[in-house]
Amino acid sequence: MRIIAIITFLGVLCTTTYSFGNAAMYARVSNPTSIKGGLKHKKSVRVGQDTTRKAADTAAVGIPPRKSPIATRLVSKTDSLGVEKLSRAPWVSLQQYLKGEAAGVYVNEPTSEPGTIQNMFIHGTSQPLLSAREAYQTQPLVVLDGVPLVAEHPYAFDIQQYKYNRIGPDINTLTNINMANIESVEVLKGLNATAIYGPKGANGVIVLTSKGAGTIRRITFDSYAGVVSPNAVTTINGRFENDFRKQFYNKYTSTGSFSNNDTYPLFLSDSLNNAFYGPSNWTNLYYNTSTVYSVNASISGGDERANFSFQIGDTKMGGVADNTNLNRYNARFLLNMKPLNWFTFSAMVTANYELRDRNKNVRDRLAQVNYIPDLSTPIAPEESKYRSYLAQFDKGFDKNKENLVTGYIKALIELGKFRFVSTFGVDYNEGYRDIFYPRTLLQNTNYASDYFGYNQRITIDNVATYDYDLNANNKFHFTLGNQFQYDFYRYSYDYAYKGSTDFIKINLLNSDPNKSNYLTSQVFQSQLIYKFLDKTKNNQISFFGKADYSLKEKYNFSLLLRADGSSNQQPTDRWFYSPVLSAGWDIKKEDFLKDSKSISALNLHGSVGRMGRYENFDNYGQGPQYTAFIGFTGNLITPGYNGIATLSRPYSAGYVPYNLKWAYTDQANLGIDGEFLNKRLFLSLEGYYKHDKNMLLGVPSAAEYGYTSVIRNGMAIRNTGIDATITGVILPSDSKVSWTSSLNMNFNHNTLTALPGGLNQLVVGNGSKLLKVGESVDSYWLLTNQGIYNSDAEVPTVAGKKMTYNGIIMKTGDPRWLDVNGDNQITDADRTLKGHALPTVSGGWSNDFSYKKWTLGLNFYYNIGRQLLNQDMANRFDFYNREGLNDISSVKEVTFWEKRGDYSKYPIYNPSSAVAPYQVNQDLFLENASFVKLRTLSLGYDLTSQMKKKHPNIRKFYIYGSVSNVFTLTKYTGQDPELADYTGYDTGYGMQFPKTYIIGVKADF
């Protein structure tokens, strides 16, 4: 917050003291990304009238960045709105902005809760996605104005028994992008564009360029406000649940219980209990209409020697349930100075202060508390009971906040054809979470916790370029660069149980140094205060050289060579050397097309190369090692033995041998962009081949040496596919009604091509996932369900032996699973790989209409070829086993009382059977989760000319309204096909996507 105040002060100071010049030239250090681009792609594909608008950041640079077709998509919607159009949507995170906007980018939004973690995958996944660890390693690099942003490192999960959320505020750090400030968003996918960003960009790079300062005094104001309103849900009560369960008892028991020791849950057995058998009206308190708003204002000005831009904003995104929301305050200040003709200096700082109100899920709370109280009575569905439960939270607090600061200082030296840009960039984000849960929430035990953690990346980046034109036909461009990156992550965390009072909500220490109790806790027992401190750091050094060559402006070639050193690699293999070769052919310039009227642009480009993949964990670089971990199932944080810290091999985490090498990615792509039919049809097609090789994998082995696995190089995953973007100007903009339609599509095929040590298949993830060479890594490993055995006689008998499931003889009421290998035993060998957790086809379809000054936009988002495992339903049917487990997986949320899914789809098995008939890993619960959504519907009106009459200073005045999440078309029977994380298990924890209605205004003075 303080840094925001400082920026605000600076901004106000500049605004009030500066006289606004009006010169034509202005100073600005160009973003190094523009130097780093790649091949020339001079004629960017643009739609609408404004085809000449240049990206501001390329103004001072020789070679503008090769905008990838996707990037073009992003910046070239109709009417030069581009990013501006995105900025009018009520989103807060970069992932939300990118969803369905760019071919090849798949965004996973497992809940609509504002500010939560979301993941992006560019061209599929390069890891089997089992946990946050792999998700982290597959995320693209985000670069804001040349500063690579740092993400929350998942190392903190190591101390967490329940890994649903990372400790701390768990705020999506990519909520720090204020789209109103952004000039352009580029999604770089192939190595031709990403190579310049090095190993951290191996999963793709998203380059964000902020708006610069101008020489003309300019004030902008934009704002929207609206409401988020929940979709109606059907609720159920205890009677419904009781009736549901009774059918199992009626079918399989004569006495109403499966054994003498059965206990029917109390909350269902008393039908006079109004809390469970009464009205199920908890939704009145859970779902709520909430507000969203955003206010942004900016001012910029200056002259050719010095100019600035200053912006402040506040955005709030309300959630639709549980009173969740995210509130972001941000400020940005940019200053450019050109003290000498050959020297330009530029500095920028942007700061965000974010506050998040989290959900009150029981599971998430207990995971945080790390203690499971008695769970036999769930939250009642009756409103007054639920209200009194919620009221307990008011006696405590759960404060989540995050400060995110990004800044740079750049210096540009320009001596003729020689340019040198040096950038010092810092990205820092720190999170705080302070919790106090009163006794009434946890069976007479209160809980207090504090977290502070930060992630920091310092980048020093030097780039020198030299242009050499041999003659008009032969042009060269040379680039030399080096980069130092210092990443540091740290957190301190503590929690305590059983304070002596609910009134002191923090760990208050005795403060008299003269007393013997100095620095002991006043309210918590010292044995019940747990403290953690952890940090990890890694450094990266890179050198690269690049030569670009252009022959007659028609044929372009570029060769890049890199050397990357990482402290996370073992000393013997610290450096990785890689080349990337790109080529382009501007066919339009050829004689045979020069005069063609129907083809106004045609460009062929391709690249091939190799790049290291950055290792994010510091332990692999150390070789055989020792850790302090001696925990066990149910207790990961055992501090030592007999009060003494221990060091032993990482038996649980896996053996780390010597000679681990860099993982790398081999990539190739070939694409064609064209403009046809008198610029009425724009087509971009790109085929890609991305083969991530030599990746580390913990291979389950050496169990007789105590290890869960041995870490080895050698996993390879290949993603191949096509990105396509087709834009058609169906009715051109010069007619009264215009209509532009644009479809983007990614088709991705994922294959595991190798496992370490030449293995053909491997079971990972506690036996839940099979990695098999030749199959996709996002497939599920499932039993094939073919119905039910209605009597013991139906169970197949071979040679006098009944069919078994893992050695257990099948009986009446057990599922009829397909015996794939025909040995009359159902085992893991009968599981087959099916479905995909990530879509095989995904993309968006946007339509923009305009009539006079009206504009209408429809944005669709779709996924095809994605399947989900409906764990939510599996859990409901597996009530018999889950009721007895007093563990985190048996928690019932208040949403247990919501009717989801289609009960009639599932056979009535014997729930008490030891074969686990309702286990989720069978195709009974696999569902097609393809969908098409109308994500936004927007209507706008340009009031500029009317306003100009009254106020001539107004340059632009635009009002608009929009509705988000209008409808979804899907066959999925669960809540929403989007609401599942990258593993593809729909746990029912996703918060529904609400309809968001906003109206807004954009004004430019």
Binding site: F632, S648, E883
Partner: protein, 528 residues
């Protein structure tokens, strides 16, 4: 020109040097080989690591009790389906806990850490003068004992297990299962060798361990490390499991003649046994020599745990705030097990009043809430630091593998098997003297010699009486299953159980995960 070359050379040297420095980052999260096995503290951390891993292996998924007490034992489970499967010996059932318990990896972590310790400890000896040869001898003895203990434990659960005595660091090689008799013989000889080098007590001017052990006091180490007597006590178990009852007597005699001479042990009274700050409680400031061999979760060291103890399985309402216990002993079973009169652990008078209650009143016994739906087995009940109010289910009881009463009863068993009825009766009565010493109202008799001694009429045949006494005395300490197996092997009278013994059904199946990793392993025949 020369200057430029020279300057650029210097410049590049500097850059190269700073690169090396920048890229040499020692992880703050792990310790690599260069920084380990250098000092006395490293030796201590490694030794404690072996202990810690042993404790983790026993505590994991409450394995020690699920193996020892729950499997075909005295307990029933009201709602946990996985425990029901273990109770009915349905160990192929598809439950995560059952599968994890059939995986021996965590025991091999003990073995591997011990192997590494034995291979590397000489480096510390060479590098750190503070590390004396006596210190090393004692450390090595402990580590050898723990490794042998891990093999003994595994052989009881899986039968044949691979016998691996080197760490083979980085060049791991799959091994087939070794014959269980060889494994047990190895465990016995190793333990015997270790026992010879171990002191009776640590930091107690013992001849074999003079001075303060790692600078800590006698109370600090008491009950936490394996001692000479603890080693011999475990040897009784190893020998008994193999049916070598002559050996049992050799070892038990050592314990029972020295326990109050060189050791500081005494028989534990029923109140001390059932007290929340009694036998199962550990505190670094007082001695716990009666914890003959065990692994402590010391409250003051923040070891207390939500799982990994018997309490998390058995305690429930009204003792702690949990509605239904995971396991409990049904009333009928209690009445049939504790049917002899004058038992201080549980006694009920003719009016149906229970006079020994684990929680309320001053006549402490094993159970509470006997009249409720679920009698709660609260013999071991160390909530928080022994003073819990039942609202927070965090426990800190020691995992106790053996104690004096256990050794005494093992000796009785050995004598009984060998036909030395009189000696067996004496030993049995030694234990009975401290247990059957209450009157009809549950009040302790004034005179220590006033107790309900063994008689054929009152307690049945001697061998049965001894095993029944073990069942009562060691309930909830992870012993019952092994006692049952030994008993059936001796008696040879229960055809169903004999079938189980002969077909390998007394062992656990080997986890499917292990079989998938190591093609040399074969499943136990009974579980195929």
């Amino acid at each position: 020109m020369k200057k430029i070359i020279l300057l650029s050379l210097i410049f590049f040297t500097l850059i190269a040097d700073s690169c090396k420095k920048t890229l040499d980052v020692n992880s703050p999260r792990v310790v690599n080989e260069t920084n380990y096995w250098n000092t006395l503290e490293d030796a201590r951390a490694a030794l404690m690591g072996v202990y810690g891993l042993t404790r983790a292996a026993l505590a994991d998924n409450n394995g020690h009790w699920l193996y020892g007490d729950v499997r075909m034992g005295n307990f029933e489970s009201p709602i946990r389906q996985d425990l029901k499967a273990i109770i009915r010996n349905d160990l192929n059932a598809s439950y995560p806990v059952v599968n994890q318990l059939s995986n021996w990896r965590r025991f091999y972590a003990i073995v591997n850490s011990a192997n590494i310790f034995l291979e590397r400890i000489a480096e510390v000896k060479a590098k750190d003068l503070r590390y004396t040869s006596n210190n090393m001898t004692v450390d090595v003895a402990q580590v050898r004992f723990l490794r042998a203990f891990a093999y003994f434990y595994m052989a009881r659960i899986w039968g044949d297990v691979p016998l691996i005595l080197t760490s083979r660091d980085g060049t791991f090689e799959n091994r087939a299962r070794s014959d269980q008799n060889a494994v047990l013989a190895y465990a016995q000889s190793e333990m015997e060798a270790a026992a010879a080098a171990l002191p009776y007590l640590y930091s107690n001017q013992d001849l074999q361990q003079p001075g303060l052990y790692y600078g800590q006091s006698r109370a600090f180490w008491s009950g936490s490390l394996v001692t000479k007597l603890g080693a011999y006590a475990m040897l009784c178990h190893v020998a008994a499991w193999q049916g070598k009852y002559i050996d049992v007597i050799r070892y038990s005699k050592f314990v029972l003649t020295n326990y109050n001479v060189f050791g500081n042990l005494s028989y534990t009274s029923t109140p001390a046994l059932c007290s929340s700050t009694g036998l199962f409680y550990a505190n670094p400031n007082s001695v716990h020599d009666n914890q003959l061999f065990g692994f402590s979760f010391t409250w003051n060291n923040q070891d207390a745990s939500f799982s990994g103890n018997i309490e998390s399985l058995v305690l429930a309402s009204p003792v702690v705030n949990k509605n239904i216990p995971d396991i409990y002993v049904p009333k009928d079973s209690i009445l049939s097990i504790f049917k002899e009169p004058n038992d201080s652990r549980f006694n009920i008078d003719t009016t149906g009043t229970v006079h020994a209650d684990a929680i309320s009143g001053n006549k402490v016994g094993y159970f509470t809430n006997f009249l409720g739906k679920y009698p709660i087995f609260a013999k071991i009940n160390v909530q928080l630091g022994g003073n819990g109010d039942g609202t927070f289910r965090l426990f800190s009881s020691t995992i106790l593998l053996t104690r004096l009463e256990d050794v005494t009863l093992l000796q009785a068993e050995a004598y009984a098997v060998l036909g030395e009825t009189a000696l067996a009766t004496t030993d049995l009565n030694t234990v009975r003297q401290i247990r059957y010493n209450v009157d009809q109202q549950g009040l302790t008799n004034q005179n220590a010699t006033d107790y309900n001694a063994y008689s054929l009429a009152g307690s049945g045949p001697l061998l049965e009486a001894i095993f029944r006494e073990r069942q009562k005395e060691l309930m909830g300490e992870g012993q019952h299953w092994y006692d049952k197996v030994r008993y059936e092997k001796i008696k040879q009278s229960n055809p169903q159980f004999l079938q189980l013994i002969n077909s390998g059904g007394i062992f656990w199946p080997i986890s499917r995960d292990l079989l998938a990793q190591n093609p040399l392993l074969t499943q136990n025949s009974y579980w195929k």
